[in-house]
């Protein structure tokens, strides 16, 4: 595939040099491709990303991350992953270095092993279905920390590890082809430490990827840039606009990270994106629900994205409140849920698209976008309000329908506003404007740096003149009434008015006068 060729040189180069960071190849596919080419054996951990994708992934390992780098990042998570991955891959992972070359063609393990496709990139992304079993051991180890992509779908086994991974990096593991459960949610929870690490890999990953993994890089970037927070989100929205496509609008926070990073995945990848997008949303939703604020970087963006998605006022208040909640509880919960959700979050292009569809879409790799919201999220929302509350199933169905319609209408109108703005990117301001004007909903934290300017109410000159005249006449009338000389007052009034206009106009003024008089006297 094309991806193989271009990406390999780029990703491979940085990894070996930078030694780190989760490989520029955000997605397992690119990673694999890249890896096959240059990557020196050092990238052991890199990963043997299992490539479910049709692309013959040469070597997941190359991710160029030298083994030494991996250890610090993967940390304890790696060991746990390794056994899993080993099981999944059924191959000795630890042989990556020597066997990088094998990856390209052989993917026996990859095909069979559902293991989450983690970018074999240096960071220890867990490569899913990496053809070569060799990379098996390495990828799991480096991946957890680096996290870039790790697909949650298969990653049930990784579920446990995902927590560690999640803390680290997360993003996008869209699981090329894995469809579903990519642990994109992991993105949401970038650990503070991991975020830093990820910044580098994210950026690197962004460049090479043209493939679907692009989403993951964006998410990675997002995490890496989590520091920027809301301001970043605001600013990012303005910049990336060009990169985003309507499909990717789902992740506002991703855009902040991406900032002009690689653009949308190739068209063939789109359908995958679609499927993942709902997943991402769901993950975001779950994230928000859990209010996981693992790192300062993540919370603002997560919350903001979550808020946007949810569009439930309750959630808003809760999400804000929850920010201060201890991270730990949420982390574990979110991680677990995140793992389930595919890296749909990652899917969002690194570029701008800040505003995304409101509900997190979960579904598992449905290509036609099945349902956006799941019953589980409704349950979570209700729990936030009242833990003992129970809802009938029909009620839940209806709520889900309402939510989906809401998201649909908002997105549609937002897109038409974006089009009106002569842009092909859906941005946060489009959605914000629509909500403010038509739904009377304000979402703090997304408006960016612009100050809302005041527009003086437009008044007609004619109306002003009339009002002035009426005032004068009324004052005069009152004075006259005080003296009980109504008749003279009328004459005076007429005279005053006559100076201004014709008789007809005067009569009209008198009508106005009476009307206003009634008002003034209540």
């Amino acid at each position: 595939m094309d991806q193989q060729q271009p990406p390999p040189p780029t990703p491979n180069a940085p990894p070996p040099s930078s030694a780190v960071d989760p490989p520029p190849q955000p997605q397992p596919q690119p990673q694999i491709q890249q890896q096959t080419t240059p990557t020196p054996p050092s990238s052991t951990s890199s990963t043997a990303i299992p490539n479910p994708n049709p692309n013959p992934i040469p070597k997941p390992l190359p991710s160029a991350i030298p083994p030494p780098k991996q250890p610090p990042q993967p940390k304890p998570a790696l060991p746990s992953h390794q056994p899993r991955s080993a099981a999944a891959f059924s191959r000795p992972w630890q042989q990556h270095s020597a066997q990088f070359t094998h990856f390209s063609s052989s993917s026996p393990s990859a095909s069979s092993s559902p293991s989450p496709s983690l970018s074999s990139q240096p960071r220890g992304s867990i490569a899913l279905g990496v053809p070569s079993s060799h990379s098996g051991p390495s990828p799991p180890s480096p991946s957890p920390p680096q996290s870039t992509p790790f697909t949650g779908s298969f990653g049930h086994s990784f579920g446990g590890t995902s927590s560690s991974n999640v803390s680290q990096a997360r993003p996008m593991m869209r699981g090329i082809g894995m469809g579903s459960s990519v642990g994109s949610s992991s993105q949401m929870r970038p650990g503070g430490i991991s975020a830093q690490h990820q910044q580098r890999p994210l950026q690197s990953s962004l460049r090479p990827t043209s493939s679907p993994t692009s989403q993951s890089p964006s998410t990675q970037n997002f995490q890496g840039h989590g520091l920027m927070r809301v301001s970043a989100v605001g600013s990012s929205s303005s910049t990336p606009s060009t990169l985003q496509t309507p499909q990717s609008p789902n992740q506002p926070w991703l855009s902040s990270g991406a900032q002009g990073k690689p653009p949308l995945p190739p068209p063939w990848h789109r359908p995958q994106l679609r499927a993942h997008i709902p997943q991402q949303h769901h993950s975001l939703q779950t994230v928000s629900q859990q209010q996981h604020v693992s790192s300062p970087q993540v919370p603002p963006q997560n919350i903001s994205s979550i808020q946007q998605q949810e569009h439930f006022e309750q959630q808003f208040s809760q999400s804000r409140a929850s920010q201060s909640l201890p991270h730990q509880q949420q982390d574990s919960r979110s991680q677990g849920s995140a793992n389930q959700k595919p890296s749909s979050l990652a899917m969002v292009q690194p570029s701008t698209v800040q505003v995304t569809q409101n509900k997190a879409a979960i579904t598992e790799s449905d290509d036609s976008g099945g349902r956006i919201l799941s019953k589980r999220s409704i349950h979570d929302i209700v729990n936030q309000i009242d833990p003992s509350e129970k809802l009938d199933p029909e009620v839940e169905d209806i709520l889900v329908d309402i939510a989906e319609d809401f998201v649909d209408s908002i997105t549609t109108f937002g897109c038409s506003l974006a089009k009106h703005r002569k842009s092909d990117t859906l941005e946060a301001k489009d959605i914000l404007l629509h909500l403010e004007r038509n739904w009377n909903l304000t979402l703090p934290g997304f408006s960016g740096d612009e100050i809302k300017t005041y527009k003086k109410p437009i008044t007609n000159e004619v109306h002003k003149e009339r009002l002035a005249v009426i005032k004068k006449s009324i004052l005069a009338r009152e004075a006259a009434n005080a003296k009980h000389i109504i008749g003279q007052t009328a004459v005076n009034t007429k005279g005053n008015v006559g100076k201004a206009a014709a008789n007809i106009w005067v009569l009209q003024m008198l009508k106005y006068e009476k009307y206003h008089e009634a008002l003034f006297f209540f």
Binding site: R229, V230, S231, V293, P296, P299, P300, I303, R320, Q323, S324, T442, P444, G445, S447, D449, E450, I451, K452, T453, Y454, K455, K456, P457
Partner: protein, 128 residues
């Protein structure tokens, strides 16, 4: 377009001309220090997360801006913007309204106290 100076006033005259994209850039962290203490007072951590503070600040700024715009709308009908326009806007929110009236009355009292103080000083000065 728009004034690059971006003066203190948020009201821009650009309103009539073009959509203000480059309107006055909003300074971030204007209320950061005070808000941290206030949040602590309301139950948050003594050191709240910077993102939380930023969000709360966004909420505050948005609220103030919205209030000012609405007050201007009302005030322009009567002519000039006045304190009563703001009081009218919060008429439904009793705690706020009462607090506002209390603060305004305190301000009046202080003004008069200062005036009396100055007058006394003058008298003393002249006497001596």
């Amino acid at each position: 377009m728009s004034n690059p100076s971006a003066g203190a006033s948020s009201k821009s005259k650009v309103g009539s001309s073009q959509p203000s994209e480059t309107s006055f850039k909003r300074k971030r962290g204007v209320f950061q220090k005070d808000l941290q203490h206030m949040m602590y007072g309301f139950g948050d951590d003594p050191n709240p997360l910077p993102e939380t503070v930023a969000l709360v600040e966004d909420i505050v700024v948005e609220y103030v801006t919205d209030m000012a715009h609405k007050a201007q709308d009302i005030g322009s009908k009567r002519g000039k913007l006045s304190v009563d326009d703001f009081l009218y806007l919060i008429r439904k929110d009793l705690p706020k309204l009462n607090r506002c009236t209390e603060l305004l009355s305190m301000q009046e009292e202080l003004k008069q106290a200062r005036k009396a103080f100055e007058v006394d000083e003058e008298k003393l000065g002249t006497l001596e």
